[in-house]
């Protein structure tokens, strides 16, 4: 069963990855965005990890809600707000629980991603973070057995191929949409963020 400290460990791993990939994400975003992606993800996940490490809240829902606010304050960009919605969706799904099983984590991921799609009015195939998050979540839900580590690895793998697939897509959302057909051939920064999240969590899975 997962507890708050497992989430805190995973968030710390993600924050570490974002810090290491800050310049990579900035460069990627400069191709057809405004270049702040690396900065906002670095500060957002840094704040998330910080909040998670300090929090004495044991209810997973309240813990995630509090830390999603910390993330949102530190990363108020569109993608930052979208990721916050994911955390809020997970928080509502885990409200009242102090531990989470693999199934409950899967349900929380599903709730988080559904809330993102609802609020952003977006779906996979539109060259966004959803193109890595949705395949990752699907792989996690479809993963048989109780081996959390193996399921997280399957999710990370699906996130990576999902992100790679955005290269062939045309942007329809945000500033990148102004580039239209010129966005084809370029990796989506948001989808890469999704890949980095799941890859970091899979690595954190070794500790959990």
């Amino acid at each position: 069963m997962l507890t708050k400290s497992d989430f805190a460990k995973a968030f710390a791993r993600v924050a570490d990855t974002m810090a290491k990939h800050k310049d990579y994400l900035v460069k990627l975003d400069q191709v057809n965005g405004d270049g702040d992606l690396g900065l906002s993800m670095d500060s957002g996940f840094g704040a998330l990890a910080d909040c998670a490490g300090r929090s004495d809240e044991t209810d997973l829902g309240r813990f995630l809600m509090k830390c999603s606010q910390a993330f949102n304050e530190a990363a108020p960009s569109s993608l930052g707000t979208i990721i916050s919605f994911g955390l809020v969706g997970m928080a509502k799904s885990l409200k009242g629980k102090e531990t989470a099983s693999r199934e409950q984590l899967g349900a929380a991921l599903d709730a988080g991603i559904t809330l993102i799609m609802d609020r952003a009015g977006s779906k996979p195939g539109e060259k966004t973070i959803l193109d890595s998050l949705v395949p990752a979540k699907d792989a996690f839900l479809a993963c048989p057995g109780d081996d959390l580590k193996r399921c997280l690895e399957a999710a990370a793998k699906a996130a990576a191929s999902g992100a790679e697939a955005t290269r062939a897509m045309r942007s329809v959302h945000g500033r990148a949409a102004y580039y239209g057909d010129k966005s084809i051939g370029v990796l989506d920064g948001g989808a890469e963020v999704g890949r980095l999240i799941f890859e970091s969590i899979a690595k954190a899975g070794t500790d959990i």
Partner: protein, 335 residues
């Protein structure tokens, strides 16, 4: 740039602090936070709360309508920038009296996302919210995409009418319906003559040529539908009615409230000249005028120009519009 201020980065905060000082006892910052202004007067237990929010630079919108008979709270961002979801959340928690809170604000991307987020956050603690987004600017999208339109001066009517419904003791669903019904029956069109300056930018972010009117420009300088050579007040009135009526039918026997709203640098004299023209045209067609609103309601700092809003009333809406309201920037008594 000539602006009377201290540091540009303090512009929004010092404005709110000034308002809290000038209208002490009527409004107050929540826990001394200059990004959240709430009604400081006693509010009946069980009254549905109504809150709004948005960037600075539009006074009296948004915070000027916090007070009895209108809004319970307003979250305030920097100039032309949305306040954060956590400010909105703190405000919603502060004004909830157990009957839920209506989130009533202009339809802009940042505000929409942040208010949605705040609604999710308070939902964790079972605080009920409902949302109405004001989208009255006819110039910002065609009629079949009305939910894409921007919210401009007409939002003051929505604040007034929803506020009256809440003060009467109606439940959240009814207050939401009152606000939505107002939005469905009103349209606005703006005319800009000169640009405005965002303090932290320091120079106009767009230009308007001399002798040119931007027809349909938004209150942040968003592009309009057309540019036209400078026109007379009567011609402006004709054009305003044409644009509004291509979207909202007006017939003999209808009763309407007309708002002529100065954008910041246009004298009241000019606003009344345009109002005169619109009033005469409507009266000649047998349309009744009810509680006209002339003056500055939603501005864009030093932008010159004005907007015209028409709200079609039935007895229910007229009753709520007539109900008493008093805030630092609004009174129902002189209308």
């Amino acid at each position: 740039m000539k602006k009377i201020m201290n540091k540009a980065s303090d512009f929004a905060r010092e404005t709110v602090e000034g308002i809290a000082l000038a209208h002490a006892g009527r409004v107050a910052m929540l826990n001394d936070d200059p990004q959240i202004l709430i009604n400081a007067q006693p509010v009946k237990e069980g009254k549905v709360g109504i809150v709004t929010g948005g960037g600075s630079g539009h006074l009296p919108v948004f915070l000027g309508y916090v007070g009895n008979g209108m809004l319970d709270g307003c979250a305030i961002g920097n100039v032309f920038a949305s306040p954060s979801a956590s400010k909105m959340e703190a405000m919603i928690r502060a004004v909830d009296k157990g009957s839920g809170v209506l989130l009533l604000y202009g339809n802009y991307g940042g505000d929409n996302l942040n208010f949605d987020m705040a609604a999710e956050m308070v939902d964790m603690d079972d605080i009920k919210t409902a949302t109405v987004r004001v989208a009255d600017d006819v110039a910002s999208a065609p009629n079949d995409k009305r939910n894409k339109r921007r919210g401009v001066a007409g939002m003051v009517y929505a604040f007034k009418i929803a506020g009256a419904a809440a003060a009467k003791g109606h439940d959240l669903e009814t207050v939401q319906r009152a606000a939505q019904k107002t939005c469905d029956n009103m349209r606005t069109i703006g005319f800009a003559l000169s640009p405005c300056i965002v303090p932290e930018v320091g120079s106009p972010t767009f230009t308007i040529e001399d002798n040119i009117v931007e027809v349909g420009m938004g209150i942040h300088g968003e592009a309009g539908i057309d540019t036209a050579p400078m026109m007379t007040a009567d011609e402006m009135a004709d054009l305003a009615l044409e644009k509004i009526e291509s979207d909202l039918e007006l017939n003999e026997g209808d009763r309407v409230s007309v708002m002529v709203n100065g954008l910041g640098a246009t004298p009241l004299e000019e606003q009344y000249i345009v109002f005169r023209a619109i009033a005469r045209r409507l009266q000649n067609r047998g349309i009744d005028l009810y509680m006209p609103h002339v003056g500055e309601f939603a501005t864009s700092m030093e932008m010159a120009g004005l907007s015209v809003t028409i709200l079609k009333l039935d007895d229910e809406l007229a009753g709520w519009l007539r109900a008493p309201a008093l805030t630092p920037f609004y009174t129902s008594e002189n209308k």
